[in-house]
């Protein structure tokens, strides 16, 4: 099943700074909720392991993350697919764009994601809420990182 989500977050840093951090595997790893590994394979490719719990389904997702449509420092598309074994799979992507605003940067995101298998069978009612919370957590962590916290 598919879901979509959009949002924006105001960050207290220059666009270039935000852009650099968005491409920093260590920053991303620290910000992604449940992320256990994020290894850079190339400038635009990472290998990731993340644990996620949606309703009754808890799984460790393994997969690759790709960066495409790179437009430094204005944005990119980050996408990936994760295999959760018997829990099913999750895949999707987010278009992230950055704009100067109020002396800082406004980050806008547009997420499209798909889940399948047990996740969809058992967790679909909870997926939107869980995904929203994950996005909120990610950007809260990211804002903190950007602020130097």
């Amino acid at each position: 099943m598919a879901m979509t989500m959009t949002g924006e977050v105001q960050l207290p840093a220059a666009k270039e700074t935000v852009w650099a951090m968005l491409n920093d595997a260590n920053v991303l790893k620290a910000c992604i909720p449940g992320c256990e590994e994020l290894d850079k394979l190339s400038d635009t490719e990472f290998k990731a392991v993340a644990v996620s719990k949606i309703g009754p389904v808890k799984a460790r997702f393994k997969g690759n993350v790709h960066l495409t449509d790179l437009d430094p420092p204005n944005g990119y598309k980050i996408s990936g697919e994760g295999d959760g074994g018997v829990a099913g799979f999750a895949k999707g992507g987010a278009t992230v764009s950055l704009a100067d605003k109020d002396g800082g940067t406004l980050l806008t995101y547009n997420v499209e994601a798909q889940i399948g298998g047990k996740l969809a069978q058992l967790g679909q009612r909870l997926v939107n809420g869980a995904a929203k919370k994950m996005a909120d957590d990610f950007f809260a962590n990211f804002a903190k990182a950007v602020s130097g916290g």
Binding site: M1, A2, G85, V86, G88, F89, Q114, I115, G116, G117, K118, L119, A120, Q121, L122, Q124, R125
Partner: protein, 789 residues
């Protein structure tokens, strides 16, 4: 009627063990050294299997073996089959795609098995299954039957273009067209018969054991028809010769059709048991059941009914797309054809009927028979058309029905069936009285004062049961005859064992079958036991489905009893030194006509075995007879259900406030058990109408895949039912029985939707009619009304 004979409300023998937890279900059977099978299943609706890596999983603790579709093919294990050949209207045979027990190369629905882990414990099996790595290449999927034939729809099976299994038709298209051209009024409806998940309380299970000493395989499984399972697994799948395979279906906790079929899991357990030399058990988890038990219904239909100026039905025309899922299940082809279109005449004299059915593959769980199987879909089409037609023409729906009821029997419909007995006016009249239809107007006004919309809906249903005369079904493509077998063994002490080819999974056969024997032999009910479900003990039989165990299974017992009595009379004649023709048998006693000589049942039984009074040349010792009974026709249970609802105009919530059911089941063996069957059937029909829906998203993910999202009916969803019976005996079997197991599920959905649409004043509503669905329909109806004003 005796206290334990035909017509007595005898308490169910089997309930003591069920209620006290003493039932023996497949999962309760434990064999020494048994292992557990855990299946690795596809999370994708449609994908190529690029690679399966079992190396890491194989090293996990407790793993005995990991098997894949490639291993299955290497061992030349055959495919699962559909046993009913349907031909398209152009004469071509249906297109059956291969159905391996474990997918090979490609998965076709979420839940399709790709590998199986055999492990010492279930937990170890699950841990290892999690480590089986499967690389998939996802393919586009289609789940909606209405989209399966589109040009851009993904083709699921090679050489089956447009995912079309067959394009079948029944009836005279031209004559129907002519009738429509001459019609005064035509009613048209688009109907979706919602997809259902059977959800028997006991999940499916299988336990297989191989005895290397005898080369015998034994399978315990949750089957409604163990002999048919053995035949298919032996003759088609090729696991073992029939005489080397024993199938035991012990206590089974509900089936509703879903346990008729031969499933991949039991084939895999048998194969793995021989391969590993260890007993292999699999018990479905509930979420696995959602993804692997054959689903029910799933029709998309456009239907039209033509009337003349007096409200007489001239013709009916329907075009249905039936979703059969990713593979053809055991009897799937027959459900939307010969169990559906043949019932489109309902209780009415309809001169012309034409029906086209396209069966399609989709990336969903296979679909097959589910309580009613085709007949609920037909009843819904007919009873919605009649009800809506009456409303459109400003006629009373009950009156319109009466005008069109068949009154002369036998009646040959234009769609194969020949109804042999019935009195449709009688059940309608009795139901209207019980439901107090006369007082409905006042009740409606009372409801309106509380902001509630009250509606009343009829369903005068008919079904074809007692499945089925072998010649008839054979001529329509069935691969097996549908007779039934019985053996009656009289012990030397006079107690009786009945071995039946029927299978009980909730129906109460141990009670009702014993009632027949008690009545016929005049012996105590306690002295009779009923055995079923073990192919090593019971002669070949066809099992239980299609409300057939009474009409067909008990008829076989009745025939065997006739033979037993005939033989016992011979024994009694020797005992009393009388002529056989003078022996009379009544109430458990043999008498010599015109004398005071008599012999009790027990004495005659004993003498049959000690054989002191006769020689083997005169009469064979023993008292045991077998009968195979083949019915001469289907039976035609029919009746009238009236549903009364109150709809909350603000929230759309529907409450069923009254339910009346008057059914004609022919001879009733046990009225208490019949009531129970009717209650359960109505509950399932109400479930379909108001609550249940198996929903796939566009990618083929089952999003109502657990009880969090798939709503089953509960006690508080149902009123206290008012039940009544009328009786016309079936002339097609010796007991006059018609069958009662499916009636409620067949009648109920149309009654509910007719009641809701009566309440809210619009016909545009789909099942399940949840509060949201009804509320939306109310908004659309209000908007349309305002636009008109």
């Amino acid at each position: 009627m005796t206290a334990t004979g035909i017509g007595a409300a005898v308490r169910r023998k089997e309930d003591i063990r069920f209620i006290t937890g003493k039932g023996q279900y497949t999962d309760d059977v434990v064999r020494p050294g048994e292992t557990r099978a855990v299946f690795v299943r596809s999370p994708h609706a449609h994908a190529k299997i690029k690679r399966i890596d079992t190396a890491e999983a194989a090293r996990m603790p407790g793993v005995v073996a990991i098997l894949t579709g490639a291993d299955l093919a290497n061992d030349k294990i055959g495919n699962l089959i559909c046993g009913w050949m349907i031909h398209s209207k152009d004469g071509s045979p249906m297109k059956m795609a291969p159905h391996p027990a474990i997918a090979s190369g490609k998965v076709n629905h979420v839940g399709d098995a790709v590998a199986v882990v055999i492990a010492e414990t279930r937990a170890q099996g699950r841990d290892a299954a999690d480590k089986v790595k499967v690389d998939y290449e996802e393919l586009p999927a289609v789940a909606d039957p209405a989209k399966a034939q589109a040009k851009d729809a993904p083709q699921i099976h090679a050489d089956i273009p447009n995912n079309t299994i067959y394009q079948w038709s029944l009836g005279d298209e031209k004559a129907v067209g002519d009738a429509f051209r001459g019609a005064k009024h035509v009613t048209r409806l688009d109907i979706v018969n919602n997809r259902l998940v059977p959800n028997a309380i006991e999940p499916r299970a299988a336990l297989a054991e191989y005895d290397a000493g005898t080369d015998n395989l034994t399978l315990w499984n949750t089957s409604q028809n163990p002999h048919v399972a053995r035949l298919v697994i032996s003759a088609f799948v090729g696991i073992a010769p029939e005489h080397k395979l024993r199938v035991i279906a012990p206590d089974v906790g509900g089936g509703f059709g879903s346990k008729i079929f031969i499933y991949p899991e039991e084939v895999v357990c048998l194969w793995a048991a021989r391969k590993t030399g260890r007993p292999v058990k699999w018990t479905a988890e509930r979420s696995e059941a959602f993804l692997t038990d054959a689903h029910g219904r799933d029709h998309v239909t456009h239907a039209e009914m033509a009337f003349d100026g007096d409200g007489k039905i001239l013709a009916l025309r329907a075009k249905t797309i039936a979703n059969l899922g990713a593979y053809m299940s055991t009897f799937s082809s027959s459900i939307p054809t010969y169990l559906y279109a043949t019932l489109l005449s309902g209780q009415y004299g309809i001169p012309q009927i034409y029906c086209e059915v396209d069966a399609v593959y989709t990336n969903t769980v296979p679909v097959d028979a589910y309580r009613g199987a085709g007949r609920p879909e037909a009843t819904f089409v007919v009873e919605r058309l009649v009800e809506v037609g009456a409303r459109e023409m400003g006629l009373d729906p009950a009156d319109l029905r009466k005008r069109n009821f068949i009154k002369q029997f036998p009646h040959q419909t234009p769609v194969i069936m020949a109804y042999d007995a019935g009195d449709y006016n009688a059940s309608l009249k009795k139901a209207m009285e019980l439901a107090d239809v006369k007082g409905f107007g006042k009740r409606k006004r009372d409801s309106a004062r509380h902001g509630k919309l009250r509606g009343l809906g009829y369903s005068t249903y008919i079904e074809a049961c007692g499945i089925a005369p072998s010649q008839a079904v054979g001529s329509l493509g069935a691969g097996v005859g549908l007779w039934e077998s019985a053996e009656v063994r009289v012990n030397p002490t006079g107690s009786v064992e009945v071995l039946t080819g029927s299978h009980a999974h909730g129906q109460g056969h141990e009670t009702t079958f014993a009632q027949l024997v008690s009545e016929r032999l005049g012996i105590p009910f306690e002295n009779i036991s009923v055995l079923h479900g073990d192919t090593d003990k019971v002669q070949f039989g066809m099992g239980t489905y299609g409300s057939r165990s009474g009409a067909v299974g008990m008829s076989a017992i009745a025939q065997a009893l006739d033979k037993v009595i005939a033989k016992a009379k011979k024994v009694a004649a020797f005992m009393m030194e009388a002529s056989e023709g003078d022996i009379e048998f009544k109430d458990g006693k043999f008498t010599v006509a015109g004398t005071d000589k008599s012999a009790a049942w027990d004495d005659v039984a004993l003498n049959a075995y000690i054989a002191h009074k006769f020689t083997g040349a005169e009469l064979e010792p023993g008292l045991k007879e077998t009968s195979f009974y083949d019915p001469t026709n289907f039976t035609f249970p029919a009746g009238c259900h009236i549903c009364e609802v109150e709809v909350d105009s603000e929230t759309g919530r529907t409450e069923i406030v009254n339910w009346t059911a008057v059914d004609d089941f022919g001879t009733v063996i046990n009225p208490m058990i019949v009531e129970g069957q009717v209650h359960g059937g109505i509950a399932q029909g109400v479930g379909q109408a108001l609550l249940e829906g198996a929903v796939y998203d566009k990618d083929g993910q089952l999003v109502s895949g657990s009880f969090m999202d798939y709503s089953m009916p509960r006690a508080h969803d149902l009123p206290s039912f008012k039940l009544g019976l009328t009786e016309t005996k079936s002339p097609s079997n010796p007991l006059g029985i018609k069958g009662c197991g499916e009636a409620g599920a067949i009648a109920a959905p149309a009654a509910v939707i007719n009641a809701i649409t009566d309440a809210i004043g619009t016909e545009q509503i789909s099942m399940p009619a949840t509060a949201q669905t009804v509320w939306s329909a109310l908004q659309r109806a209000n908007a349309a009304r305002q636009a008109a004003e």
